[in-house]
Amino acid sequence: MKKLAFHTMIIAFCCGIAATAFAQDAEKKEEVCFESRKGASEITKREIKPGWPNVKCSPKTGAALWYGDPYEGTVPMGKMPMLDKIPEGHALVKPRSEKLSILPMCGTACHNGVGPKFSPPTLPKDKKPTPIPTMESLLPDVKDLQHGRGRIWCLDCHHTTKRNMLVDNFGDPVSFDQPQLLCGKCHGDKLRDWRDGIHGKRIGEFASTGKKRWFVCTECHNPHNVQDGARNRGFVQLQPESPPQLPKGMKDANYEKVHPIAH
């Protein structure tokens, strides 16, 4: 019975995903470009005023190459320690929760804390890794969680009872729109650099109190895979933009390797 419910839910998810894919096909003329992490944050090109687009996309790679409006789709960042010098409304982020397709179900369908199976008494007794096939089929990344090299697991980041929330060091819930409060509990040095604008990125006005859109950690890092296998790097590879014109007379880029400089 319960199993059946599970399966229908999964099917429902699949249908949902397929439907969005079809919708994208239909509006093929739309130009959509991605920012840092492919699949994590896409922008649809549109005209803000005549001859002035919100974004320019690369015809070659589909990357966002230019911002006509750096604040599009942003909301205030919310309370962050140490950022109180920044005037109200000057620290903005793009909410992550809008981009997450599974998230809307998390707190309602399964982990709602009321069903007989999922009510607190049967919640995980510890945070240690266990196989979770349901989640694996929904989110293939967690089949082989590449974060922490076996030393961290779901509930180090996700709230135990409020599954539509992340969790901080006190066990208090943290919004998906403020992943910095989660990541910062283990990566304090990075959080500090991020807060100072050194790690990560901000766009808009460069003055230290200026109005900026801040890119949050998960816009660049996939929290379920920060190793990328053997590459062992926290940022996935991208297709590069086209190279510059070759100097006049040079037939191909390898010329100097084939005809080495005499020493």
Binding site: E35, S36, P50, G51, W52, K56, S58, A63, A64, L65, W66, Y67, P70, K85, D193, D196, G197, I198, H199, G200, K201, R202, I203, G204, E205, F206, A207, S208, G210, F215, C220, R231, R233, F235, Q237, L238, Q239, P240, E241, S242, P243, P244, Q245, L246, P247, K248, M250, D252, A253, N254, Y255, E256, K257, I261, H263
Partner: protein, 363 residues
């Protein structure tokens, strides 16, 4: 064609009395009566300007308004010597011309350096993945030529690909000179760190490549810029808020600055610039991204049209890894100041005493 030649019919010829003969002076700006020129532009419009100069014959074949504007441009002063009124005049003239040429409302900003601002730049070379988005963003913002033929494509940022050195057994004895063993970080057979022209042209499926690191280079906005020292017409100079700029109208295309720059930062328009109307960025600055003409040198100016209004340069905003940082060096809280205070920072070719305001760092 002498200036005295009778102009063709149809050209307005109300030569104002007392108008000087077209100048033989080396400083044409001095030879033209300011008042009469400005009066012209304001009252009788552009057409009559040509008659003032007495060279209407020059214009018979071209679009008259455009030619007249160009003619006025020839007689304008070096931007630094212009009075605020002359700047406003030059600005209005250019806005009219560019708007007509590109079919949209083009603005030419003349905002000066803002007090209390000294711009600085920092680039994290450990993070750079060589994706070249900065290069393309720069072109989208700064109206560079983007044709297909040789010399028609200008990019201000170059991304150098540098091979990581390797220690491998089979190369143990292939050093240079031969037989002296492997050399740290590469040897004559694996040119680690060496820059070959071809190394700008890498084109793998995905970056970063396993065996490479990347180093983007553009204008360093030196405190003591060699390019400024050599410019025979003094059309390139350092602005009080940092960037080294060019008044394109006074550039004679001699390329002295290109030879003097130790960072390969300057480009010359050898061909007529190709800038499609729909791609043209209509928000421009006089010393920044306004469209250039053939025969003039151009380079990075930290997006003056943006940065003078407090906005990050275009390359900073598109860097997917956040390797590019920009800010006010006079503000101790700015990200660049904090990087200088906290990170491992170096300047490129510091031994040349050019004192770049562009810093490389790693964490």
């Amino acid at each position: 064609m002498t200036p005295k030649e009778t102009p063709p019919a149809g050209t307005a010829m109300e030569q104002s009395p007392g108008c000087p003969v077209p100048p033989a002076s080396a400083d044409p700006a001095k030879a033209v009566l300011k008042t009469s020129r400005r009066g012209f532009l304001k009252s009788s419009g552009l057409l009559s300007l040509s008659s003032l100069m007495g060279t209407a014959a020059l214009m018979t074949q071209s679009d008259e308004a455009k030619a007249a504007v160009e003619w006025a441009e020839h007689f304008q002063k070096n931007y630094r010597l212009m009075t605020p009124e002359e700047k406003a005049e030059a600005r209005a003239r250019l806005e009219r011309r560019y708007s007509a040429e590109y079919g949209k409302a083009v603005t030419v900003d003349t905002t000066d350096a803002q007090p209390g601002v000294l711009m600085g730049y920092a680039l994290n070379i450990r993070k750079c993945i060589g994706c070249r988005r900065c290069v393309k963003a720069c072109v989208a913002e700064n109206n560079q030529t983007r044709g297909e033929r040789p010399g028609e494509r200008i990019e201000w940022i170059q991304v150098l690909r540098m091979e990581r050195g390797e220690f491998s057994k089979d190369k143990m004895d292939h050093g240079y000179p031969e037989g002296l063993g492997i050399q740290v970080g590469g040897n004559a057979y694996t040119p680690a760190g060496q820059v070959l022209e071809g190394q700008y042209h890498y084109e793998p499926e995905a970056v970063p490549e396993k065996d490479a690191t990347y180093m983007p280079i553009a204008c360093m906005q030196c405190e003591k810029p060699p390019c400024v020292k050599v410019c025979p017409v003094r059309t390139t100079y350092r602005e009080p808020d940092g960037p080294v700029v060019i008044d394109y109208n006074w550039c004679i295309g001699c390329r002295m600055c290109m030879g003097a720059c130790p960072y390969w930062a300057r480009r010359i328009n050898v061909a007529n610039p190709v800038l499609p109307k729909e791609d043209m960025n209509p928000v421009t600055h006089y010393l920044g991204n306004r469209p250039r003409m053939r025969g003039v040198v151009e380079k990075c100016h930290w997006c003056l049209q943006r940065s003078r209004h407090g906005r990050y340069p275009a390359c900073v905003e598109v860097c997917p890894v956040g390797a590019r940082k920009f800010g006010n060096l006079l503000d101790p809280e700015s990200e660049v100041s904090l990087i200088l205070a906290r990170k491992n920072v170096f300047r490129l070719k510091a031994e040349l005493n050019t004192f770049p305001k562009f810093f490389y760092f790693y964490d």
